[in-house]
């Protein structure tokens, strides 16, 4: 594990823990956010037969760096009537919430922030801070659009957490573990061992599982999409109605923190979907490291596979964003309470029965 490695180098377990906890931020979230913003703009542009950013670097790949430089130089505006302490804490709380999620995400066999036994439950718990932070931001801005956006966002996140948790429960029922690293280890081998293809145990149950797993995957993908407030579920920051939702009043680096949290969340939910259904960090076709007998290569390959799968699902999120129009509030709630939750419940019961039999 990465912790032991740092412990060996630094000789101090405090220092090793601090380095390990900062590692995902610097080697993963920041570069990923830079890349994802660029990808978002490119994907949206090409889907609309445009080109997108082209001038900063080749095909605009340095555009986000330039944007960040611009954001750093911007004035940090706090509105006069805003609640200053809460206004300043809110972006930090939101970012803490979405960063805490990364502690339990297994990036590779050797790189998982904290291999806690309750990985998936921890992720669900930590996302509660995001809701609190969003409400705080909306209220502290003292702006009706911000408050409306925050309320909508919180209502949406809470409602859609239910189908997410129900789907997670089915996976816990099948595998008997809530530890994401164990879950990933179980899906080792080839892609037919992934949970979406019925899990690692070969038998008649595996083939019965497949259709239910696909329904499960669709439900969790839709509900996590709603949880990160992305189109078609972006009514909390609907530009045409609410300016920009709860971060309307934010500027400069505080806005950048919201932005970073949003992209970190996007990857986090993709990572959850990957870890639950698509084998986590496991390669679908075997490792080069095994082929050449170089075992130190395997964790690196696993990391690459994990990021590739995660980025693919982030890409699908963007793809959906430029395909579907925004839902109305009543449609949003109907989709959750009338469709996703009952179907997830029925799925839970059926899969429970299959597991018991």
């Amino acid at each position: 594990m990465i912790y032991d490695f740092f412990l060996k180098i630094t000789g101090s377990n405090i220092l090793a823990s601090i380095i390990q906890s900062l590692l995902p931020l610097f080697i993963f979230i920041l570069p990923f956010a830079l890349f994802a913003v660029w990808l978002e703009r490119k994907v949206s542009a090409h889907m609309q037969d445009r080109l997108g950013p082209m001038r900063v670097g080749k095909h605009g790949w340095l555009q986000t760096v330039a944007d960040i430089l611009k954001l750093i130089q911007k004035e940090d505006i706090v509105p006069n009537d805003a609640d200053k302490p809460l206004f300043n804490i809110a972006p930090i709380l939101v970012f803490v919430g979405s960063y805490a999620v990364f502690a339990a995400i297994p990036f590779s066999g050797a790189f998982i922030g904290s291999n806690i036994d309750l990985g998936i439950i921890f992720i669900i718990a930590a996302s509660g801070f995001v809701v609190a932070g969003i409400l705080m931001a909306g209220w502290a801005s003292n702006n009706k659009y911000s408050l409306l956006g925050a309320m909508r966002s919180a209502a949406q996140i809470i409602s859609y957490e239910i189908p997410t948790v129900l789907v997670v429960l089915t996976i816990i029922m099948i595998t008997g573990t809530t530890n994401l690293a164990t879950l990933s280890e179980m899906q080792t081998g080839h892609f037919w061992n992934w949970m979406i293809f019925g899990g690692p145990n070969f038998g008649i149950a595996k083939f019965i599982f497949i259709p239910f797993m696909i329904i499960n995957f669709i439900i969790i993908y839709i509900s996590t999409l709603a949880e990160v407030n992305r189109t078609p579920f972006d009514i909390p920051e609907a530009e045409s109605e609410l300016v920009s939702g709860y971060h309307t009043e934010y500027s400069g680096m505080k806005f950048a923190m919201f932005f970073l949290a949003e992209y970190a969340n996007m990857f986090a939910v993709s990572a959850i979907v990957t870890a639950l259904f698509f084998g986590g960090y496991q390669s679908p076709i075997g490792y080069l490291g095994n082929l050449f007998g170089a075992h130190w290569l395997i964790p690196i390959e696993q990391f690459i596979w994990f990021t590739a799968k995660g980025i693919f699902f982030v890409f699908v999120q963007m793809w959906l964003r430029w395909t579907l129009p925004r839902l109305r509030v009543d449609q949003l709630m109907a989709a959750c309470w009338k469709y996703l939750i009952p179907i997830a419940f029925v799925n839970l019961i059926i899969i429970g029965l299959i597991t018991v039999l």
Binding site: V43, H46, M47, Q48, D49, R50, L51, T323, I343
Partner: protein, 186 residues
């Protein structure tokens, strides 16, 4: 119950139909023109910045009068009798020194009305459309080919000539020489 599943299925199915459409568009070549690097071919009769060919201008002021926004201002000075001002390209003899021919492109509305009255076709539209400036005063274009000293010289020459003429007219009479010293400027 049947409608419930039909709804769910059609929602899911139509999402995939939409995704197929957008995915196809991902590979359609972009229609964007990278403007400063690549420029669109403008039509032949485009109306952009005016140009005045001063070699042909006879200073007739017709363009200034045609202008609906008064962005052209012209001042002329008559040439002296012996002076040869040259000819325009269609054979007309020039009689006036053009000492001021300013076009204010901040005002110009690119209507092309000034182009048609010109008897020598010396004012016309070009294909230049990138001439933004930081100062509004930089948008006043001066088309006169004479240097400032030359313009002053022409004015003084003509004033002198007028004065001499007046003096010559008055010389026989020799009455009230001081009266018409101030020759009215054209």
């Amino acid at each position: 119950m049947k409608e419930y599943f039909k709804n769910a299925w059609s929602a899911l199915f139509t999402i995939f139909v939409g995704m197929k459409v957008t995915f196809k568009h991902l590979f359609v070549p972009a229609v964007t023109i990278q403007y400063p690097d690549v420029k669109l071919q403008l039509p032949e009769r485009e109306r952009n910045r005016l140009y005045v060919n001063m070699d042909d201008c006879i200073g007739c002021d017709q363009c200034a009068r045609a202008c609906p926004v008064d962005c052209i201002s012209i001042e002329t000075v008559k040439g002296l009798p012996g002076e040869d001002l040259g000819k325009t390209s269609n054979g007309k003899r020039k009689a006036l020194w053009v000492t001021k021919f300013d076009i204010d492109f901040a005002k110009c509305c690119y209507c092309q009305l000034c182009v048609f009255p010109c008897p020598t076709e010396c004012i016309y539209m070009t294909d230049v459309y990138e001439f933004s400036e930081f100062e509004r005063s930089n948008l006043i274009y001066d088309f006169v080919t004479l240097t400032p000293q030359e313009r002053e010289e022409k004015k003084i020459n003509y004033a002198k000539f007028e004065a001499e003429k007046a003096a010559a007219k008055l010389a026989p009479a020799a009455v009230k020489p001081a009266e018409s010293k101030e020759a009215p400027k054209p």
